[in-house]
Amino acid sequence: MRGRPGLITSYRKDISLFRTGTQRLWLVVLLLVALWLPLWMPNDWLVPAGISLFAAIGAIGLNLVTGYAGQVSLGHAFFLGIGAYTASALSTVEGPGTRGLLAYGYDMIIWLPAAGLVAALLGVIVAPVALRLKGLYLAFVTLGLVFLGQHLFQSWRELTGGAGIGRRAAELSLLGFRFDEDGEVFGVFLSDTQKIYFLGFVLLVVMALVAKNLARSRIGRAFAAIRDRDIAAEIMGIDLTRYKVIAFAISSFYAGVAGALLFTVTGFLEPNAFNLELSIFYVAMVLIGGVATISGSIMGAVFVTMLPNLIDFVSDYLPYDPATGPLNTGQLEAILFGLLIVVFLIFEPLGLYGLWIRIRNYWKAWPFSY
């Protein structure tokens, strides 16, 4: 019996995150590959890769509230914006370039958690709407939030610089260490993009782990219960108000942190960026990645963010060239995007995560069919 692969002999082992040695081995391989990639990737791949890591944090947040707790939210862009502007205002150092913008000059150790907390606070304020509305109606109200946010961002000039002008994104200075400047780290020369990538990598690992732990705890189970049968959940002793508020708070916290960092890669914030399209992008990440899965959120975020690069890459080997053809990369991306959402919803509702499970199960039994 001992040494039989996959044999689980204790409940402690049964509830652990990675139950088998194989899983742990491949996780280490995956992490090592992710750390090795930025060392040789060209910048036009590394920039979207860095963005995708921050986007993954935001996608995990949306998946917690929409995928796990079943509260459909189209307002994610609003919370991303709140995080972005909180971070930018707190971090900017007062100077000739600030032009009367809010600028407090705090360190990253302050502005990063603050961006999450301010967004979480707004999430708590919005949550009571979810107590009265479900499904499509809730989606519509959260949609309103995006327009509200856009108006606020466009007209509050001291905070955002106003439409068409904008302001610089938060400054990545952690206790004096600059992520946004080239320099040596432990004797290795790293460019600013590489540094930002590693920052995103570490944050994503930590925040994904926290989200996974929440998802498998009594809190994640309560979310799923509310999603599947809210009345039965309440009769099981789950306080709907409490858990919906918790879901929105955690989700918005993730969005706030993601928003604060997303734009630091390009360094610039524009109020019109936080529009409905951005929300839809995040919904797409969740749908394409896999509803109610943490690893799926990451896969979805990476896939959706890297899609333009993938299209360019694939077109080198196809007879069609987006540079000269009637449809450019952006248009192709938009078309593919809609197509992918439709295809995944119909054929693989569990998204990339579902595909992965299929592949895994195939190879588990290989060379037998069953």
Binding site: V210, R216, A222, I235
Partner: protein, 283 residues
């Protein structure tokens, strides 16, 4: 009794605060939706360790009584006292915390979760750790998860659903789903268990199994049960007392033998004899 069952029984009975008098008092309850009278002056009580059955034709208001009990409906008049405490107007989750659990007529399991997760959701009120501990999943969170897993495993053993532990409930056969739902209610460590048609749509073997579980729950786990069921043979075999309702009004209340011969009950179920005026004289 198996060792598992002994441990379950000891677990569910230990730590109970003793309560004098009836588990549940349902007094003069009136419930109406607009002009529609659903419950009209219904009164009964349930004693500790009693298997109390409610029967009646479709639409008589049986499930509405359950919904009043678990706080989904709020009756306009009357009193509902559970373990001596007034629960009228309380939120469902507060009533659950007092020790009332139920199953549903149409299975209301969390279908995207496994059997284990469904049962662990029954333990929700017994898991006390908060979000910060959950985020790290060490120390208290892990300890509580493991301790409650033991209880859940005892219930899995008691209901004989070991093969389905990790299956998603949405894919399970109906009979097993009903059992899982019973397990989820038991996991709450209730003092009163409401069973809404636990054997509806089941075959003979499944019905026999369910009857055995109900007797074990009453006798060994010492949990009072209110049973709503249309399977008359089972109700008459198992119940200690039976309440018959028709059109929201109580028709009869007493031991099965008494209720069976009550003329009002027979009328409610079979209808009255009518003589047809001018019958037989066809033009």
């Amino acid at each position: 009794m198996s060792e598992r069952q002994r441990s379950l029984s000891a677990h569910l009975r230990g730590g109970r605060t003793e309560h004098e008098g009836p588990v549940l008092e349902f007094g003069g309850v009136h419930l109406s939706f607009g002009g529609l009278k659903v419950l009209d002056d219904v009164s009964f009580h349930v004693n500790p360790g009693e298997l109390f059955a409610i029967i009646g034709p479709n639409g008589a208001g049986k499930t509405s009584m359950f919904n009043c009990l678990s706080g989904v409906y709020h009756p306009q008049e009357g009193t509902i006292r559970f373990l001596g405490q007034d629960i009228l107007g309380m939120r469902p989750n507060r009533i659950a915390a007092l020790g009332m659990a139920r199953t549903f007529q149409n299975v209301e399991l969390f279908e995207h979760l496994t059997v284990l997760d469904n049962l662990m959701l029954g333990r929700h009120l017994h898991l006390k750790y908060g979000a910060p501990t959950a985020a790290a999943f060490i120390g208290r969170a892990r300890r509580e998860e493991l301790a409650n897993r033991e209880v859940v495993e005892d219930i899995i053993d008691f209901l004989e659903i070991q093969p389905f532990r990790k299956s998603f409930v949405g894919f399970l056969p109906y009979g097993v789903q009903k059992r899982v739902e019973l397990g989820r209610a038991l996991a709450m460590e209730p003092r009163l268990l409401l069973l809404d048609e636990p054997v509806a749509g089941m075959n003979l073997e499944e019905t026999e199994d369910m009857a055995r579980f109900m007797l074990d729950i009453r006798d060994e786990l010492e949990i009072a049960i209110i049973l709503v069921e249309h399977d008359m043979r089972m109700v008459m075999d198992l119940a200690d007392r039976v309440l018959v309702v028709d059109f929201g009004r109580p028709v009869a209340l007493g031991p099965p033998s008494e209720v069976q011969s009550n003329p009002d009950v027979i009328r409610a179920y079979l209808g009255e004899e009518h003589s047809v005026v001018g019958g037989g004289e066809n033009p």
